[in-house]
């Protein structure tokens, strides 16, 4: 079902958390709300599921206006960060609780709970209690409980934050599989860009209660609208260099000049920031940059280097494993100026 936020605002007392936010999630789409802590992404989620009441604006599920409806009358499924399983109930009772509340017959509940448990691969655990389950299993129970009532929208509040790294990888594809299989509209709240990029159709990146940019993961990675977006996506992160515009070129360090078409109309002397992703600095490129390796990290398949330029700014480089460079070595590597991103002083992309 299509979810629409129309000029949605939320304040707590005099603190404005979200102001006039517009957001549309298409039917069957999975959207990530990505942003640092305190940017209002969880507030948005809680407003959609009805726990927080919007200060102003409307929330629509399909064509139905649910703005004033209490949680109980919206058909939403939520997976909380802490899973929020009911500790005194068995797995089957946990999963079946949304149906128990609707006074469905006990036998039917048991049957449906078993069905949905099979979908998330926990049908052998139905009689256990949450305390007897591992983190990943608890997560699956929470998912099953959210899905059993066939909700209009599935809301996931940092669902992977409490899992260890390996499980996180597994649950990432698992959640995506479930979402695709059930064709449910889903909203994922996370501060982990890897999760957002790998699981979702589109990403809405948020900062201080506003959506900065909303687009597909690859588009957002290659074409960020602001320095904030560029800095948030990508691991290892993009490195930023301070510099100045001079005759249509970006000048930094010991007067290294980068001819950039985007700078044609920028007056000389304007303060700019250049963003270079680690994969665009290294063995191939059109501009030579000299520096000294300050830090090297082996990641198995690749090595990550921090290179300090003479003006003390740092460029990161990720390259296939090589053994000829050590910390302290002077290097002269090339930078791909066509892939470099340039930002104005206020963070706007040029």
């Amino acid at each position: 079902m299509r979810i629409l936020l129309d000029k949605f605002s939320k304040s707590f007392g005099s603190t404005k958390v979200i102001e006039e936010m517009d957001l549309e999630v298409g039917s069957g789409e999975m959207l990530a709300l990505l942003g640092p802590s305190g940017c209002g992404k969880s507030t948005t989620l809680f407003a959609i599921c009805g726990i927080h009441r919007p200060t102003s604006g409307r929330i629509l599920f399909g064509d139905r206006d649910v703005t004033g409806l209490p949680s109980q009358e919206r058909n939403v499924g939520v997976v909380f960060q802490s899973y929020a399983l009911y500790p005194h109930m068995t797995v089957a009772e946990n999963i079946g609780f949304p149906l128990t509340v609707r006074r469905m017959a006990a036998a039917n509940i048991r049957k449906e709970a078993a069905e949905i448990a099979a979908l998330v691969h926990i049908d052998n655990l139905l009689d256990r209690r949450p305390a007897q389950l591992s983190g990943g299993q608890q997560q699956r129970v929470a998912l099953a409980r959210a899905l059993i009532r066939r909700p209009d929208v599935l809301l996931l509040d940092e669902p992977l934050a409490n899992l260890d790294a390996k499980l996180r990888l597994e649950m990432r594809s698992e959640i995506r599989r479930l979402q695709k299989e059930t064709g449910i509209t889903a909203i994922l709240v996370t501060h982990d860009q890897v999760e957002a990029m790998s699981m979702c159709d589109r990403i809405a990146i948020m900062k201080a209660g506003e959506i900065v940019q909303i687009s597909t993961p690859s588009e957002m990675y290659n074409d960020p609208r602001t320095a904030f977006v560029a800095g948030f996506l990508g691991n290892p992160p993009i490195s930023f260099l301070k510099g100045m515009a001079e005759g249509g070129a970006f000048v930094f360090g010991n007067s290294i000049r980068l001819m950039l078409p985007a700078l044609a109309a920028i007056p000389d002397g304007a303060v700019l920031t250049l963003g270079v992703r680690p994969e665009h600095f290294g063995t191939s490129g059109d501009v030579q940059v000299e520096g000294k390796v300050a830090f090297a990290e082996t990641q198995g398949r690749e090595n990550l280097y921090d290179v300090v330029l003479p003006d003390r700014s740092v460029l990161r480089s990720i390259q296939p494993v090589r053994n000829d460079v050590a910390v302290g070595d002077p290097v002269c590597w090339s930078l791909d100026s066509k892939a470099a991103l340039v930002f104005a002083e206020d963070g706007r992309r040029l």
Partner: protein, 280 residues
């Protein structure tokens, strides 16, 4: 439990047990003699009993002149205590939840007010309460004294329950609401089970408190038909004409038996009241 006692001893426990045993010996002796004296007679000045007798327990099968029947008194005590426990559990578990979780107007005022009420020693109120009960016709009735005792014990219960509710994670309630449960169902089916140990503890605590209450029934319900055991016991020792120490002791033992039984079965739960926090 068994493991716990076996582990963690990096010193011998024998001297500790010996020292504690020695220190508590006088107490044990007193209890032993309390019991022995109720089933035996000894010569004046002697500690050694010289005959076995059940005459001190005769209050169980014959009513003493001028005293109410012991079984009626026991029944009264049970009614008094059970009703108080029920009322306290019902009101505290609901009021505690409201004060902990719901956005009620003047919540702070209520919390503070309940606290102030708890600070009042009940004795200071007793004359006022006496007059009020007299005025509304509840003097010398079980109902009156039950209301008063429950009201005086409630603040502690409410605060205690509020403290336990505070430890239940919010997410559980949010999940319940999103799953479509009403606020009452959330409380009854999801939150209350989380604090079951606390409810058990408070119930026990109220029962013991009601069982041992003396001053309120003594002043507000002294009549023969509504007497409770503590008042009955006091009337024995206050009676200068038939001063019978052995019977007094026997009634005392009789009075303490239900408490001992409760302790044997439920002492684990009673510990919870001071432990706090959620379990399991």
């Amino acid at each position: 439990m068994v493991e716990k006692t076996r582990v963690s001893a990096n010193f011998s426990s024998v001297p500790v047990i010996l020292a504690l045993g020695l220190l508590s010996l006088p107490l044990v002796l007193m209890y032993v003699y309390l019991f022995i004296d109720t089933v035996s007679n000894s010569e004046t000045g002697s500690l050694i009993p010289n005959e076995f007798t059940l005459e001190h327990w005769s209050f169980l099968w014959e009513t003493k002149p001028g005293k109410p029947n012991i079984w009626l008194v026991t029944l009264n005590t049970f009614v008094f205590t059970s009703v108080i426990t029920t009322v306290i559990l019902l009101v505290s578990s609901m009021a505690g939840y409201v004060l902990s979780r719901l956005n009620v107007p003047a919540r702070g005022f209520f919390l503070a007010g309940v606290m102030v009420l708890h600070a009042f020693p009940s004795v200071t109120l007793i004359i006022a309460i006496f007059i009020v009960l007299q005025y509304i016709g509840l003097y010398n009735s079980l109902l009156g004294v039950i209301l008063v005792k429950a009201a005086i014990d409630l603040p502690l219960g409410i605060w205690l329950m509020k403290g336990f509710y505070d430890t239940v994670p919010w997410e559980i309630e949010m999940a319940g609401v999103v799953d479509g449960a009403s606020r009452f169902t959330v409380w009854r089916r999801l939150v209350l089970p989380q604090i079951r140990p606390a409810v058990m503890a408070l119930g026990l605590f109220s029962f013991l408190s009601g069982w041992s209450e003396f001053i309120l029934p003594q002043v507000l319900a002294p009549g023969a038909q509504v007497q409770v055991l503590s008042v009955y016991l006091a009337s024995l020792i206050a009676d200068d004409n038939n001063f019978d120490f052995a019977t007094f002791k026997a009634v005392g033992v009789f009075y303490v038996i239900p408490v001992l039984i409760l302790y044997v079965f439920f002492q684990k739960h009673l510990m919870n009241i001071y432990g706090g926090g959620t379990k399991g």
